[in-house]
């Protein structure tokens, strides 16, 4: 345990000391949020201009309103949810993806700097090296996700949390997602020689995982072949937990909220197990 927290402490210390890295990582979600959330104001398409509404008979106004509400809730979870809030919560999870994939690079980087040998020659479990890095990535992800969400709030996200317990669930989902993704990435890249290879792997993972999740659009409007991918993608589950906890207010579906959290928990445990196993077996100074 001491060795895991020592490794985690080192990672976090280095991270806190390089603010440029932190800022860089925030730019991308901000960009997506602006592009999707603001430029394509999808909910705007469904808003009926005031004067049209005023000229309609009250009966039909009600029908039109409920129709729009149905469309909105089918697409974005609840009638109150606007598209920007929808994307902002998506992006909060996407930053977790970026941070986790980026963190996998740290082993290749330590190998390059020779520091990996310091770790490998110490009487510690190989899995501790991976777990320390995974936990550090998860703390970073939590902080960065919070920052993205705060940026979203500043730009007009409408939060509607139903209860503190659900918010705790949202925090847990971010943590579990980070553990899942960074464990997988580290397991995949344990033996990579250099961070250049790692960049390739990162690009291979980042965008497909983002676009097969519900970060930018709901699963209901995905092409059929993509829907099962979205269901498997842990990103989708974290995003749904976030939306359930932060946006849907009392209309949240508790059963599916719990299911998403359970899915993430199982995924995180399996991924961390895989990462530890891979480290104990394959992490070495040899390449």
């Amino acid at each position: 345990m001491g060795e895991i927290s020592a490794i985690m402490g080192r990672e976090l210390r280095k991270w806190v000391r390089s603010p440029p890295l932190l800022l860089m990582a925030l730019i991308q979600p901000l960009f997506w949020m602006g592009l999707y959330g603001k430029a394509f104001n999808l909910t705007g398409l469904f808003t009926v201009p005031e004067d049209v509404l005023r000229n309609l008979p009250p009966e039909s106004t009600r029908v039109v309103a409920s129709l729009f509400n149905q469309v909105a809730s089918r697409l974005f979870g609840s009638p109150e949810t606007d598209y920007f809030s929808f994307v902002a919560t998506g992006m909060t999870s996407v930053i977790v993806l970026f941070v986790s994939v980026f963190s996998g690079m740290s082993i290749a980087w330590d190998r390059r700097l020779g520091f990996l040998n310091k770790l490998l020659v110490a009487p510690i479990r190989r899995s501790s090296i991976v777990l320390g890095k995974v936990l550090a990535a998860s703390v970073r992800a939590l902080v960065q996700a919070t920052m993205v969400l705060l940026m979203g709030l500043a730009l007009g996200v409408k939060l509607n949390p139903a209860s503190p317990l659900l918010v705790a669930g949202a925090i847990a989902s971010i943590f579990l997602l980070a553990v899942s993704l960074s464990s997988l990435v580290i397991a995949l890249t344990l033996r990579l020689k250099s961070w250049e290879y790692h960049m390739a792997v990162a690009n291979l993972l980042n965008l497909p995982l983002m676009f097969t999740s519900t970060a930018l659009y709901p699963q209901s409007i995905m092409p059929d072949w993509m829907k099962p991918l979205a269901t498997l993608n842990p990103l989708t589950h974290a995003i749904e937990v976030l939306r359930g906890a932060l946006l849907y207010g009392n209309s949240v579906d508790l059963a599916s909220f719990q299911f998403h959290l359970a899915y993430l928990s199982v995924f995180a445990i399996l991924a961390a197990g895989l990462g530890s196993y891979a480290a104990n077996r394959y992490l070495s100074a040899e390449r």
Partner: protein, 333 residues
């Protein structure tokens, strides 16, 4: 302890088609300062990496402090310290943060660690700089921090891979002071590599001369020089018309003779006795001696006599080196 501190038996390591270590065996007693001496690419680092469990040997076996480096890796790791050839302390952390990190990786309890950190900082004279980030350190300071980091957990066996490489003479002398003090005060067994002959000569109890993955000889520097070294006489005469070879050939005590135009290099068993006779012969034969020089054996000589090459020059045979020197003089002249 009846068992040697380090014991290597027929170690081999093959990388693809490169045989980096080619069946080496040696043992190091507790408390010894043992040197692996060899040119670039000899297999020194590879040997250290095997003994410190960083890489697995292709074949052969080794024990450190009685533990098998293949099967008892954890035990080996907890009794050794390694100062690697390339510096590996974390640049972005301060000296003291690096040491604290090492202490936790070696499971040193917190209160013990703080005292120990003070001690090792004292030992390597880094107290003042301890709270600065390592990226602000000089090469010598980094090496000292590296040494301190390797000592945090009071290892039994310390591995030093080129501890003085790339440092200026003064810093090298300092590092050696620290190492000698360690062996004395902390009862350490040290295995080190170097290609600075004088350092190995002055500091090691025993050395193994290693070349192309093979151990050529093992012994104390004194033994090796006595067994493999000889005095070397280099001389140069004026004019090309003289047949140096036949002039010098009859001199007694000459072990080896190489002639290159007007220059000759002789290996002799007792230089002080050969020299007068040699000069007499040359003058008697009508040669004008422009330059004559005698060197006592060094470990470098031992290396040349064992391998036919100089350890100093990174490549090339003895003859090539000789020719290169001639060329340099020619350019100057």
């Amino acid at each position: 302890m009846g068992v040697p501190a380090i014991e290597a038996e027929d170690l081999r390591k093959v990388f693809g088609d490169v045989v980096a270590v080619d069946g080496i065996s040696f043992s190091v007693e507790e408390g010894e300062l043992f040197g692996l001496l060899g040119p670039n690419g000899a297999g020194k680092t590879t040997t250290i990496n095997i003994l410190t469990t960083l890489i697995r040997p292709t074949s052969g076996s080794a024990r450190v402090w009685g533990y098998d480096v293949r099967t008892e890796t954890s035990k080996v790791r907890s009794v050794i310290g390694l100062v690697p050839q390339d510096l590996t302390v974390d640049d972005e952390l301060t000296g003291i943060e690096n040491l604290r990190l090492m202490a936790s990786l070696y499971h040193v309890p917190k209160d013990v660690a703080e005292r120990r950190i003070e001690e090792v900082l004292e030992l390597v004279d880094l107290k003042e700089a301890a709270r600065r980030r390592v990226e602000t350190y000089s090469g010598g300071m980094r090496k000292r921090l590296e040494l301190a980091a390797a000592l945090i957990h009071r290892p039994k066996v310390l591995f030093l891979d080129e501890p003085t490489l790339g440092l200026d003479v003064q810093t090298r002398a300092h590092i050696w002071d620290y190492i000698r003090r360690l062996v004395r005060e902390e009862q350490l067994t040290v295995l080190m590599t170097t290609h600075y002959m004088e350092e190995a000569d002055a500091n090691c109890d025993r050395v193994a001369v290693i070349d192309r993955g093979k151990i050529m000889a093992i012994g104390s520097p004194r033994e090796l020089k006595a067994a493999h070294g000889s005095d070397v006489i280099e001389l140069e005469v004026q004019g090309n018309g003289i047949d140096l070879h036949s002039l010098v050939n009859g001199v007694g005590g000459v072990l080896d003779l190489r002639v290159e135009g007007s220059r000759a290099v002789l290996k002799v068993s007792r230089g002080e006795e050969v020299l007068p006779e040699l000069v007499g012969r040359l003058i008697g034969g009508g040669a004008i001696v422009r330059r004559i020089e005698m060197r006592r054996p060094t470990l470098d000589e031992v290396f040349i006599s064992l391998t036919g090459r100089s350890i100093r020059e990174e490549h090339g045979s003895w003859e090539e080196v000789f020719r290169q020197r001639l060329n340099i003089r020619r350019v100057r002249g």
